[in-house]
Structures are given as C-alpha cells and as structure tokens.
C-alpha cells in the first residue's frame, strides 16, 4: 500500500463532495428542459372502492392543464397494468377499482407544477366504497374481501407458500429438546423515506423515437429492460432497448425504496410519449410515505430448541408476510421470502425449518428493502431475539450463551442447516472486542446495583451475520436477469482512466471507492480516475445497487477488469523492457524485471505505450470489461452491544451507549465504511424505537406525513461507538464484503434485547418494535413499577 495513489484501505476524501458542498449536485428535480410539463397525481382516499366515474372536465377547464390521463386511457394502450419485480402484476392506473389508500387514480399534466396541483384538486371521482381487509390474518379467513379478484386462478388472498430446511428432523429435535422457547415477533411496516422523494423527467423525442428518462432509480439497466418489455406487450409497440436511455443522476438516498418501478414513472413516460414533450413528476413526502413500496410487515412465530447445557439443536419459524395489494418485493425471483432462511444466524444447530406465507391486503405493495433487502433484518431479529429468550429461560448470560453456540472460526466455510455456505467469520473475536470496549462485566454489576434500588437499565447484545452480494447467477435473478455485475475500464494514453460500472450510487461514494479499487490494481493515482455510473447509454449492464451488493459484485468486476488490463500491461512491459513476461513481477505498482528495480515500467508509461509503441500483433489500447459472477455471497457480521436506561415515569428508553464492532472483510475506504455504519445504525435504531407504519380499520395510513412518521433527528440518535475486526472473504478478489446494510440489520435486536433485559426480572420476554414509551410504561404499570 502506498499512500500517494489512494488505493485500498485509504480514507480518500470523496470525489462526489466538491459538487454537493457547493449545491451543484444534479438531482432529478433539478433538471429543467425546454417545454417541460409537470405531472401530479389524483389519489384514492379509500383503501378499497369501485370507481364509478372520473369527471375531469373542471380540471381540463383550468388554463394550463394539458391532459388528464386515467386507467381507461392507459388500458386502450394495454398499459393499465405492469409487472412487479416478483412477476406479480400491479395497476399503473386503475380501470375500475382501487385497492389501497393513496393509490394513483388519474394523472394531471399541466404547464406548471402549481397548475397541475390545482388540476388534481379539480378532478372529481365518484367511488363506491368496498370493505377493505387490513389485517393479514383476517385476509386468510373465509369470506374475507378479495384484494385481487383479477387473479382468477387464485380465489383467496393467499399468494404463495414457501419453506426451507428439514421439517421432519426439526420437529424431531424439538420433540427431543430439553428446553424450547417461543415468541411471536412482529416487525412492522416501515418506510425508507430517503430525504429525496421519488420522481422522474421523461422525454420522448418523436423524431428519433428515443425515450430518455432521468429517474430516481437504484437499478437503471433493469428499468430499461422492463420498460422495453412493457412497451412490447402494449399497444404502443415496443420501444427497442437501444432507444431507451435511463439516467440515474445524483440520488438523494435510496435504501431500497428506489428499486421498484412506480406507477408515477410509467404515467410520466406515457404522458411524454403522448405529448412529445418532456414531463416531470416529483412526488411529495405524503405520496412517498403513503404509496411507495414498504419494507417488513412480517409476523413471525419463532421457536428455538436446546439441550440442558444450552447448546442449540433446532429452530422453527412460521411467518405471515403481508405484501399489501401486490407482491412487489424486490427479491431474487426464486426467493419469494428473500434470504429469510439465513435465520439460523451465527450459531451452530443441526436443523431448521422455515415457512413463509405471502398474503394480500388492502395496503400499498410491500416487501422492498429498508436498507436491507431480501428479509435479512427479519431473519436476524428472529434469531437474535429468540437467543435472548433462551438465555432468559436457561438463566444464563446472553453473551455466554452466544459464545457457546457460535460457529467456531475454524469451521468456515460453514454450511448452514438451510443450505447457505458462510464464507468466513470469527464471531467470538468480534463479541469479545465489543464486550471489552463497552465494559460488559462492569455494566452487569451496575445493573444489579440499580435493580436493587428500583432503577431500570438494560444491556442488549446482537451478534448477527449478514448475507449480501447476490449473485451467484446460477441461483439469483430478477425477472430472469441474472444477478452478475459489471465494470468497464479504459486507460487513457497519458495514464488516467475512466471506469464505468453497472451499479449506481445513492450516496455510497462509488465515484471514490471504485476509483480506489482501480488505483490499487493498476497503480494509477485515484485522482486520475473518473468513475461513471447510472447512464444506460454509457455504463455496462448491471443489476444496480441494493442489498449491499456493489462491492461484492461490481467491486469484484472492477478488480477483475483491472487485472485484465494489468495482464496486457505486463505484455507491454515485457516488450518495452525486452524481457520475457515470465521474468516480470508487479512490485510497488510497477512491473519490474525480477530482482532489478531499476528496470521497471509504471502503468502510466505502459498506457502511453499501448497507444504509441505497442508490439506488432497486439491490439492498441488498454481497456477491459468484466462481468463478474460471484461464486458465493459474502457474509459480513458484527457484534453490537446497547445499553439503555428507562424512565419509570414516562416509559422513555434512552440509549446510553451503543458499541458496534463490524467485520466486512478488507476495507476499501475506512472513512466511507464508518460513515455507512453510522447511517446504518441510525436506520436500525429508527424502527427499533420510532418508526412504524400502521393503518386504521378502514385502511387509512396513520403516518401520512413526517409529523407522524418519525425519522430520528440528531437528538434521538446516540453517539455511535464503532470498531472493527477484519476477516477477509476468501472468494472475493479483494477479500471484501458488503457493509451498507449490516448495521441496519444488526442494531434493532440489540436495542430490543436491551429493553427486554432491563425488564427481564419482571418476567418480560419480548417487546415488539418500535419500543415506544407507552409500551414500556404499560409493562411497568402492570408490575406496579411506575414512578409515583
């Protein structure tokens, strides 16, 4: 490692920052095109209703309103429905019925944003309310209102059943177990609520037939393909993929909420095709909270079996997954419940059996990420909570119980009972480090002293294992598109380079970190490397950024492409140094004749030669492309310890300390990794204490604005204490693992466990998140412990 090139392991300052700190970012809403129209959306007040009539005459009478588009209009082009990423269908605009509150009903196109909003207020819709079904358990009862009568083959609200693991063996182990614990655990609906909402500018050029869409999307290439396929199935006729350009410019936070295709994107695009003018649609916060895809909503019955000595033998989970009105999750297609069956976590056990049933309800489509795709947060919450219940039942320290059951460091790669192969890990080391840092033994003594005085404090542990970086492509695809990822590198004659990648940044700092990978592999200074992404006309095809997959997939592709370049550069060096390639070695970012540092060539020199002095028979230029198909996922992990104090007068939970030890293998940029962990912890704390989306019995969302959907401020957020261990991934070319979501996955059970721990002497074994003051107070009250 050399500091001057800014390669692996350096806290290089971000290349993105100079534009952002000057207010010169380029977000979708910043774009203004000549003649651009604005779109606004009429939404349903009802969660379930027939649409009897839509009267747009008053809206159309407003000067500046250009058009009002309804589901019937789209239906004429066979565009009223679209596929979801899980091969279900969802309405773009309804033809005759709405199935969730705030569903799109019609769109108004106008010359100005304000006029479009007036147009929306002037559209008169006549509804006939239908009884909604909001509770997924009731949705499965006979006689429940049917959310999707359009699925003629499926006359119930049950979508699918999925299971994993060895049922017979698991049941047998439970029958033979000395100790069994069981909890019903609910992870509520939550919403990523990135500070930038969703939106797009669609611009269809009638002359060239080219459609350009600037879009808040985490996966521009996949969107392009979906758009082409959707138009192919429509009466508009296919827009061929080379005539569709999706541009994902600067994105103000994604976290999974910007993976799906929302009706607004399709409507704006349809409006642009119809009018031949650019059309901008930017949703407001209420629309974002009410109608965009949600995460979680998992009702889990979790059981753990153990021997008397505390050794785990088996785990059993039964889950009801509330998907709202469509299965619009962003999971790999063979995994309707994502990677939920990684729920055996960091522990050895012989068998496990996991069942999930997907259910329709009259709510917006759910099942996308909240800074954790693929249901890993759900899995980790299940195991980390139930391990604490087991410790409580066995009356042993939860840290000791974890140490006893951890997968031993020498057992990697480890095959889990549900079939995952964990690449590497050292769980005891991480937990030990966290315990030392927080002063665990001392805290337990303090807790005992306080309990004696009637004061309530709790210590919660979470030792989680994440699973990130999908592919491999033999197992993972989205709508049939394999989950590889890509990079393309061109080294210019004077020793600078451009890198284009198939993934897309929403704040992760790809322009910096992918440059560092190339710097490390090629020995070119990071400041001489431009990284581009997000434009489907220029970047190589990739599946996008979510599920902490950028580094595991495109990061690996970048390293592999760079290595191809280095291979060619070696031949150039051999030519220039008049040596055999076999006699060359790569030392200090240079090719040198083995043992003779004076005879060497830098990459800059070799790049120049690639265009000016390449050997006969060799193609000129120095560039490479790699489509990387990872051999396995990566399994980052961590040990978190949370200390809470509880106010007996109000039920308030205050996080006093939170120590997070993370292990994501080799690190490209420690500054960026630490920043991601800070953010991830905050998005782990938020649903643990504050955020939840709930509905009343009529299907009204009860958190329709940020006044009630409670994003933490700097005051609720504790001062995170972070540390790390390093266990490289054996199969990743850089030894790296993904990290963006680890903290969001690992933090909630640490907090929930801390609160339960504070109340465990009262016999409390579980509290559902968010742990609100009133929930805690009611427990205290039941035990006569409120402050008087």
């Amino acid at each position: 490692m050399a500091v001057e090139i800014g390669g692996m392991g350096h806290s290089v300052k971000r290349k993105e920052d100079p534009r952002f700190i000057r207010g010169k970012g380029n977000y979708v809403d910043d774009l203004k095109l000549p003649g651009m129209l604005y779109m606004d959306i009429v939404r349903s007040p009802y969660a379930h209703a027939k649409i009897l009539n839509i009267d747009a005459s008053k809206a159309l009478a407003i000067p500046g309103v250009a058009a009002v588009i309804t589901g019937k209009d789209l239906d004429a082009y066979k565009l009223a429905w679209m596929p979801t990423l899980m091969s279900d269908t969802q309405m773009v605009l309804p033809i005759d019925r709405v199935v969730y509150q705030a569903q799109e009903v019609a769109v108004v196109i106008a010359t100005e944003r304000y006029i479009a909003a007036d147009g929306v207020a002037a559209v008169e819709v006549e509804y006939e309310p239908l009884p909604p079904v909001v509770d997924p358990f009731k949705a499965l009862e006979p006689g429940s209102p049917l959310v999707r009568p359009d699925h003629a083959d499926r006359p119930t609200n049950h979508i699918w059943h999925w299971e994993s693991g060895d049922k017979a063996r698991t049941d047998q182990l439970f029958a033979e177990a000395d100790v069994v614990v069981k909890e019903h655990i609910y992870l509520p609906r939550i919403h990523v609520s990135s500070i930038e909402t969703c939106g797009c500018v669609a611009s269809f050029d009638k002359v060239s037939g080219k459609l350009t869409v600037w879009m808040t999307t985490q996966a521009p290439h996949a969107i392009r393909t979906v758009f082409s396929l959707v138009t192919a199935a429509s009466a508009v006729g296919q827009i061929p993929e080379h005539k569709i350009r999706i541009i994902s410019p600067d994105i103000g936070g994604g976290f999974g909420g910007k993976v799906p295709v929302y009706p607004g994107y399709v409507c704006a695009t349809a409006a642009s095709v119809l009018t031949g003018l650019p059309v901008k649609w930017i949703e407001d916060r209420s629309e974002n909270l009410q109608a965009d895809s949600f995460a979680r909503d998992y009702h889990m019955d979790v059981e753990l079996a153990a021997k008397k000595d505390g050794r785990f033998t088996a785990m059993r989970v039964k889950t009801l997954a509330d998907h709202g009105c469509a299965d619009a999750a962003a999971n790999p297609s063979k995994f309707p419940a994502g990677l939920f069956n990684v729920c055996t976590g960091s522990y050895v056990m012989e068998a496990a059996h996991v069942e999930v049933d997907g259910v329709y309800t009259n709510k917006p489509p759910g099942g996308v990420a909240y800074r954790c795709s693929f249901r890993v947060t759900e899995a980790v919450h299940a195991i980390e909570r139930i391990v604490d219940s087991m410790a409580q039942k066995l009356q042993v320290d939860p840290a000791d119980l974890r140490m006893k059951n951890f997968i031993p460091p020498d057992k990697f790669p480890y095959k889990s009972p549900t079939g995952w192969e964990y690449d590497s890990g050292n769980y005891p080391a991480a937990l030990k480090k966290a315990m030392d840092k927080v002063g665990y033994a001392q805290l337990r003594r303090e807790q005992a002293r306080k309990r004696a005085k009637g004061e309530l404090m709790g210590i919660g542990i979470s030792t989680f294992t994440e699973i990130v970086g999908a592919g491999p492509s033999h197992t993972f695809d989205i709508l049939g598109i394999k989950m590889f990822d890509s990079a393309e590198i061109r080294v210019h004659p004077t020793g600078s380079a451009i890198v284009r990648i198939g993934v897309q940044s929403q704040g992760q700092g790809h322009e910096t970190t992918f440059g560092q990978i190339v710097a490390e592999e090629l020995g070119l200074p990071v400041e001489n490397i431009t990284v581009e992404h997000g434009d489907t006309d220029t970047a190589p095809y990739g599946l996008g950024t979510y599920a902490s997959r950028s580094t595991p997939t495109a990061g690996a592709a970048t390293a592999m492409a760079a290595r191809k370049i280095r291979d060619k550069a070696k031949l150039l060096a051999a030519h220039l140094l008049e040596a055999s390639p076999d006699d060359l070695e790569w030392v200090d970012y240079k090719f040198q004749v083995k043992g003779t540092p004076s005879k060497s060539k830098t990459m800059a020199e070799l790049a120049f030669a690639a265009y000016t002095n390449h050997p006969q028979g060799m193609e000129a230029g120095l560039e490479a492309v790699s489509y990387y198909d990872p051999p396995n996922l990566t399994f980052p992990f961590g040990a978190y310890i949370c200390v809470v104090d509880i106010d007996r007068g109000t039920g308030e939970v205050k996080i006093r300390r939170f120590v997070a030890v993370d292990d994501c293998g080799n690190i490209i940029n420690p500054m960026i990794v630490e920043g991601q962990i800070h953010g991830g912890l905050t998005m782990g704390m938020a649903p643990a204490l504050l955020e939840a989306i709930t509905y009343d019995e009529n299907g009204n969302i009860q958190q329709g604005t940020m006044m009630d959907y409670l994003l933490p401020t700097s005051m609720e957020t504790p001062a995170w204490e972070t540390d790390k261990t390093t266990t490289p991934s054996p199969h990743h070319p850089l030894g790296a693992k993904g990290v963006g979501e680890s903290a969001t996955v690992g933090a909630p059970p640490a907090i929930a466990n801390a609160v339960v721990d504070a109340l465990s002497h009262l016999g409390v074994t579980h509290i559902d998140i968010p742990v609100t003051p009133w929930k805690v107070y009611e427990i205290l009250k039941a035990h006569g412990l409120t402050e008087e």
Binding site: I21, I195, T682, M707
Partner: protein
C-alpha cells in the same frame, strides 16, 4: 389570481418577479432564480432540506411565502463559496465526511454556519441541538457534528491570524 411584484436578493444578486401569493420561497429559489442547491424533502416543515438564511436568520423556505420575503436578503448554499474560496463549513463537511447522498447537506451547512457565527466553539450537544430541525438519513449525524466543529476550529484559527492586524487597525 393577483400577482405581487417581489424583489429578493439571493447571494448578492437581485431577482425581481411577479409571483402568486401562494408561491413558496423554495420554489422561487429553485424555479425562478434557478438555484437548485436548496432542496425539498417534506411538506410539513419537518426535514430542513430547504433551509436558507433570510436576512441572516435560518428559515425553512418551504414554509415561507415568497411575498413574505419581499425585500429580503437571502443566502443559499450557492453563496457559501466566495471568490473561489470554500467556506470553512464546506471544507468541514468534506474533511469529516459529513455527507453521503448530499441531499440534506446544503441545509445542514447553513445551519452549521449560523451556529458558528453565534457560538464559535460549540460542544457536541450544542451542535446536535442546532441541527435537530434537519433530517439526515445517511450519516447518523456523527460526522455532521464533527464537520461543524471542524469548521468552527478553522474559523477560529483564521480569526486568530487576522486578529493582530485588526487590533492594530482599531488601536
């Protein structure tokens, strides 16, 4: 609808326009003055992405009517850099990794700048309180606190460098 003629100075440049009374100041800044560094993140004055300085006072420009700001002197993120020189708060955010997606950053930096003008050496608790009207979804606030404190130190250093001359001039 009656329109009102307004004159608003933004970052030293005068913008005159006829506006509807309902035009929100943030839309005036973004759409009329074409300064898109000021962002919109919510409808309910919750997030602070639209924060600007109006006559030196922090305001959420999505909750101010343009007509209310008639005659005002406004500073936005685009006005922080002067003569090609970054403001210390901008340096602080870059040096301390106080931003990720960059969407809340303009508001956060203006809050930091205003805080440091009142309190050049704020504690962590003081910074946290000052930025509590601005939401960030990426950073967990840790590095934003550091960025603002970095800028405070930097401003104090440059003030110290200037002090002898200033004393001399006054003396």
């Amino acid at each position: 609808m009656t329109t009102h003629k307004v004159k608003v100075t933004i970052n030293g440049q005068v913008h005159e326009a006829k506006v509807e009374p309902r035009l929100l100041l943030v839309h005036f800044i973004r759409e009329v003055a074409n300064l898109t560094g000021t962002h919109i993140g919510c409808d309910t004055t919750s997030c602070g992405a639209c924060t600007v300085l109006v006559n030196g006072t922090l305001m959420k420009s999505c909750t101010v009517l343009t007509v209310q700001a008639d005659g005002a002197n406004i500073q936005t993120v685009e006005g922080l850099e002067q003569n090609g020189q970054l403001h210390p708060i901008q340096e602080g955010f870059m040096q301390e990794h106080g931003l990720q997606c960059g969407f809340c950053t303009p508001g956060m930096m203006l809050v930091g700048k205003a805080l440091l003008e009142d309190n050049p050496d704020p504690t962590e608790a003081e910074v946290r309180k000052a930025i509590s009207g601005n939401l960030c979804r990426c950073t967990g606030y840790v590095n934003i606190v550091k960025a603002i404190q970095y800028a405070g130190k930097k401003m104090q250093e440059s003030a110290e460098v200037k002090t002898p001359a200033a004393v001399h001039a006054e003396g």
